[in-house]
Every structure is written in structure tokens, then in C-alpha cells.
């Protein structure tokens, strides 16, 4: 017996044509509207676009090799040859800032993403299963949250030392607890929803429930947190490099450009001014965009 041959029950209009109802595009419209609706967000997205382009094409844009020293060109003020002057080793400051952008963007994108993956996993597992798992994970999170993130990063960096993957690890660990806590709280709320119970009642097993019913419903605040923490990660990496435990010289990072500049403040202020302005603009831009995305995705907390 096939259902198709049977008369439909209670359908008053049997002849409605089978036209698909338009997919919901409101989310993207909303994001576009919010981003292009205000001058501040337009400027911020342009700044981020510029940062990405600069980071991608650093090899072509940078006028000089960022590591090339020259004893003849030490502490030069800005000129047409060196737009932001040179530092105490005679390196072109503009080129170093351009390569530093690449450095910042890599850390700024990779570590919040990793932290979101790890933190969300921990938080969802803790929130969904509860009991002893929850207690262990929650106490671990509390322990990590007890330290300010910069202090935590300094402690770990001091223990691990510099190096690319170590810095990634440091930044990731610093942000994991935040994601875990948000994910856990959201999971606790979503777990109570009747649709989760309904899914259990049709025989969906736990891993599928988590993947298909819990995670999509907690993703909005996680995404918002991620965008906001891109800025934060860039700032934190700069701070670590400034303190000498992040990116190691001579590799250019905005943090250690400032650090080098500080040692030579009376020679020339331009490295500090240039890198400082770059950090400020980028962090500001990511924050503005993050706020805008939060307004769309997570209006309750905005």
C-alpha cells in the first residue's frame, strides 16, 4: 500500500502547485544590512579587507626586505625612500609592518578558531552529559578563567618558549575556557528543549543529537565570540611579542616592532607610531565588525 494513492486528509486545497517556498535568505540580508548600514562598519570592513590584502601580498607590496639591515640607514626619519623611516638596525619600518600584518592575521585567525573547536567540544560534552565530566571540565575552566588571559598567556609562553606553534598553543589555551563556558551554558539550555526530547523519542542516538540538534543551536554565540576574539588574539600576540616571549626577532611582528622601537625611542619614534597605529586600527575594526555580527546573530546579548 502506498500513501501516494490515498486521498490526503483534511486538505481543502488539493491543487496548490508544488512550487518550492523560497529558502530563507534573511540572515545574509541582515548581515549585509548591518555591515553596510553604518559608516563605521563600512570603514571597519574596508580596513579588514586592506589588512587581508596586505597580508596576502606582503611580498609584492613591501618596498624592502623586512630583515635587511643597513648600517648606513639607521634611525632615518620618514622620507620618500622609507615612508615610515628606518629603525635602529636600518631596517625599513613600513616593510616590517607589512610583514607584521601577515604575522598578526595568521595568529588572529588560527588561534580563536582552534580555541572555538576545542572549547566548544569541551563545553558541549560537559553541558550535555553533566555529572562527573561536567564537574571536571567546569573546574578546569574555572581554574583557567581565574587568570587574566594575558597573565595566563605569559605563564604558558614562559614555560614553552617562543616559536610559531608554541604561540598558537598559548593563544588557544588562553581562549579555550571562554568558549567552553559559553558552549556549556548554551548546551544546558538547549538540552532542555522539547526538540531534543523529540529527537530522543524518535530514536536518535546521542552523538547525532549533539551534532545535529545541539551544536547548530548554540553556534550563534560561538561565532560572535570568535569574531570578537580575533581582535583580542591579535592584541595578545602583539603583547607577548612586545614582552619578548612571542614572535622572536628578527621576524617582524607588530609587538616586537614596538619593543625594538622602545629601546630606540630617542633615535626615531616612527616604528612605535606605525605599529601602534596598525594594531589600534585592526583591533578596532575587528571589534566593530564583531559587534555588528553579534547584533545580527545574538540579539539577546547585544
Amino acid at each position: 500500500m502506498s500513501f501516494a494513492e490515498q486521498r490526503p486528509i483534511l486538505t481543502d486545497e488539493p491543487d496548490i502547485p508544488a512550487t518550492p517556498i523560497a529558502a530563507d535568505t534573511r540572515l545574509f540580508d541582515n548581515i549585509r544590512h548591518v555591515i553596510f548600514g553604518r559608516i563605521s562598519t563600512i570603514v571597519a570592513s574596508l580596513a579588514i579587507l586592506l589588512l587581508i590584502l596586505v597580508a596576502l601580498f606582503a611580498d609584492f607590496i613591501a618596498p624592502y626586505d623586512p630583515l635587511a639591515q643597513s648600517i648606513l640607514n639607521v634611525n632615518k626619519a620618514p622620507s620618500w625612500e622609507h615612508l615610515l623611516g628606518t629603525d635602529g638596525f636600518g631596517r625599513d619600518v613600513l616593510s616590517r609592518i607589512i610583514y607584521g600584518a601577515r604575522n598578526s592575521l595568521i595568529f588572529g585567525l588560527i588561534s580563536p578558531t582552534l580555541a572555538a573547536l576545542i572549547g566548544t567540544t569541551l563545553g558541549v560534552v560537559a553541558g550535555y552529559f553533566g555529572g562527573i565530566v561536567d564537574r571536571v571540565v567546569s573546574r578546569l575552566i574555572d581554574l583557567l578563567l581565574a587568570f587574566p588571559e594575558l597573565l595566563l598567556a605569559i605563564i604558558i609562553a614562559a614555560a614553552l618558549g617562543g616559536g610559531f606553534w608554541n604561540i598558537i598553543a598559548v593563544l588557544t589555551i588562553a581562549y579555550v575556557p571562554g568558549f567552553a563556558r559559553v558552549a556549556r551554558a548554551q548546551t544546558l539550555a538547549v538540552k532542555q528543549e522539547p526538540y531534543v526530547e523529540a529527537a530522543v523519542a524518535v530514536g536518535v542516538r546521542v552523538p547525532t543529537i549533539i551534532r545535529r540538534h545541539v551544536v547548530p543551536n548554540i553556534s550563534a554565540p560561538i561565532v560572535v565570540l570568535m569574531t570578537l576574539w580575533v581582535a583580542s588574539a591579535i592584541r595578545l600576540e602583539a603583547s607577548l611579542s612586545f614582552l619578548g616571549i612571542g614572535t622572536q626577532p628578527p621576524a617582524p611582528s607588530w609587538g616586537n616592532i614596538i619593543r625594538d622601537g622602545l629601546n630606540n625611542l630617542f633615535g626615531t619614534p616612527w616604528p612605535i607610531v606605525g605599529a601602534g597605529v596598525a594594531i589600534t586600527c585592526v583591533v578596532l575594526a575587528f571589534n566593530i565588525i564583531g559587534d555588528a555580527i553579534r547584533d545580527v546573530l545574538d540579539p539577546e546579548t547585544a
Binding site: F3, P8, I9, I16, T19, P20, A201, G203
Partner: protein, 335 residues
């Protein structure tokens, strides 16, 4: 075991809370659902209706809840003896459930089609196209207009009645032998209620699905069910065919329930009301749980819990007074 029962619940005890001061929520619930039959489970809030249905699905949150005694036999298998890991195979395929709140029983970020299809994906091994076709058939069956176009909609684009239909479609997709409907019409307005009830009747007639309808609305039960189980404070106080119970209620609680329904041709006097409210679970240690609210009580009721007396026909009720009046006796339990 009697022939032809899809579900037999025997002497089900459920308690909540820590073991040393556990609260009895179900005290020996027993009833049967015949193959293709429709049974109404009625009672006030807190009488244990939903716990009974959750126990059947083994969805009682544990801790704090647990089944301490009794059997739930589904088609010959004792569900309570199955390892919990086997239950997902039974849920949805053999026993399906629809819930009270259609507004929130659908995942807001999943398309309707995917959500309904999830059940088949779990229980049957068929490809995407066949699955889609089956979902469309099912949506047609529950009366969603333009089902092809609706598959890619999200729940917020559906009204409450449509969502309840979607829930029913989801529940029926794998042709379960038993459908547990936990107050399926409570959150819907009256015209939609009538439509959903019609739909459930139709589905029962067409697919032969047995229905356990949980409701505190006696009208809904009378409309859909062949027999009624009346629960009070974790006890079954009366069981019988629907007409018997509505014509000659044997338990004072059932009488009270029936008397408190407004009549179309009734006068303007104040509606009957059972005095007091359902006792807090665990506060009644002995005697009839209805004692404190009963208008017919005798001294014996305070100290001794009445057994289920057999009245005429299939009707059984737990009351000393009415049993004495009707000369009803306790029959040996049918085995």
C-alpha cells in the same frame, strides 16, 4: 499473557529522588493496550500520566527517577529488561511519541524535510531520493498542502497546527505499532484540535496504529478512545470501556471529573469542582489516595487501599464504597 495486546504494563512503580527518601510517583500502574486499540490516560496534573508514558519509552531522567518494580511488555518483549542501548532502535520505529508543545518540539535550525527524514534515516536503510519521497507522502497524509514545496521550510514558517501535523508525520513515518500522544492538542486552538483528532482517528483506521492518548480533556478522550484509564496520585483508580466509564463511572474521582465538565444544556449554577487538589507525591502512606477529597469516604478508606474491583463488563475500579454498592468483587487477575 493475553492475546493481541501491543503493550502491557504491569504493576509499574516509579520513584524519584535519592534512595533513602525517595518519592513514589507511580504506585503499581497496570493496563493493556490492545493491538490497534486506542486507550485514553486521564487524570489531573501530577497524577502520573506523563511519567507512565516516559517510562514506556524509557525516557525517565535518571537520576533522579527510576523504575523500581513492574514490567512493561511491548509485543512480548519486556522493555525494562532491555539494555538502554537497544532503546533507540525501538523508539521511533516501534513506539513513537508526540509531545505537548508543537511550537518547540521542532529544531528551529533544521529544515522540516530533514527533520522528518531523520527518523527513517535511523531505522531504514534507504537512499536520499526514496527518503524524500516518503517524507512527501507522509506530509501529504497529514494534510500539509504543497508538501514538495514545504520540505525546505524551517519550523518558524509553520503555524502551531501545522507543526503538530509535522510532529505526527515524524512520529508515523516508520509506521510504529504504538503512538504515544502526550496531550497532543492542549496547545492548539479548538478548530485545530478537532482537525488533529480527526487526523489521529484516520491514521489509526488506516495504519492500524495503537494509540495511547494522554489527556486531561475527557471530551478528547471520549472522541478518540475505546477505553479509558483514570489515574490519580500514581494509582490507576478506574479502567473500562469508554461508554461504560462515561455512563456509569464507578470511582468517586471519575464521577467528580465527569461532573466538572460544563454541559451544553446545563443550567447556570456553579460548575462542580472536586474540593482540594492532588496530594503531593509521597505524602500518602496508606489508605486510598483520594480519601481527603472524597465525598463518599468511609473509615476503611483511610487505612486500607482498595484493590481493583471488577464491575460489570470490562470496568474495574478501586473503591470500597461503590464496590459494596454494586456487589463487585475482586476477580483473580487474568493471566
Amino acid at each position: 499473557m493475553m492475546k493481541g495486546n501491543v503493550l502491557e504494563i504491569r504493576d509499574l512503580h516509579v520513584e524519584f529522588g535519592p534512595k533513602d527518601r525517595a518519592i513514589q510517583v507511580l504506585n503499581g500502574v497496570s493496563f493493556d493496550i490492545p493491538q490497534g486499540g486506542a486507550v485514553g490516560l486521564v487524570g489531573e496534573s501530577g497524577s502520573g500520566k506523563s511519567v507512565t508514558s516516559l517510562a514506556t519509552m524509557r525516557l525517565i531522567p535518571s537520576p533522579p527517577g527510576r523504575v523500581t518494580k513492574g514490567t512493561i511488555t511491548f509485543n512480548g518483549t519486556d522493555l525494562l529488561a532491555l539494555p538502554l542501548g537497544k532503546m533507540p532502535d525501538i523508539r521511533g520505529r516501534d513506539i513513537a511519541m508526540i509531545f505537548q508543545e508543537p511550537m518547540s518540539s521542532l529544531n528551529p535550525v533544521m529544515k522540516i524535510g530533514d527533520q522528518i527524514g531523520e527518523a527513517i534515516m535511523l531505522h531504514e536503510n534507504i537512499d536520499r531520493r526514496a527518503r524524500r519521497a516518503k517524507v512527501i507522502e507522509m506530509l501529504k497524509l497529514v494534510g500539509i498542502p504543497n508538501p514538495e514545496g514545504r520540505l525546505d521550510s524551517y519550523p518558524h514558517q509553520f503555524s502551531g497546527g501545522m507543526r503538530q501535523r509535522v510532529m505526527i508525520a515524524m512520529a508515523l513515518l516508520c509506521r510504529p505499532k504504538l503512538l504515544i500522544a502526550d496531550e497532543p492538542t492542549t496547545a492548539l486552538d479548538v478548530t485545530i484540535q478537532a482537525q488533529v483528532l480527526e487526523l489521529m482517528k484516520d491514521i489509526r483506521a488506516r495504519l492500524g496504529t495503537a494509540i495511547l492518548l494522554i489527556s486531561h480533556d475527557l471530551g478528547v478522550v471520549a472522541d478518540l478512545c475505546d477505553s479509558v484509564v483514570v489515574m490519580y496520585a500514581g494509582h490507576v483508580v478506574e479502567i473500562g470501556a469508554t461508554e461504560e466509564i462515561f455512563d456509569t463511572p464507578r470511582h468517586p474521582y471519575t464521577r467528580g471529573l465527569l461532573a466538572s465538565i460544563p454541559r451544553l444544556h446545563g443550567g447556570e449554577e456553579r460548575l462542580f469542582q472536586i474540593p482540594g487538589s492532588v496530594p503531593v507525591p509521597g505524602t500518602i502512606k496508606k489508605g486510598c489516595p483520594f480519601y481527603s477529597r472524597c465525598g463518599m469516604r468511609i473509615d476503611r478508606c483511610r487505612t486500607e487501599m482498595p484493590p481493583m474491583f471488577d464491575f460489570d463488563g470490562s470496568q474495574r475500579a478501586a473503591c470500597w464504597v461503590t464496590a459494596a454498592e454494586a456487589h463487585a468483587h475482586v476477580k483473580e487477575p487474568a493471566q
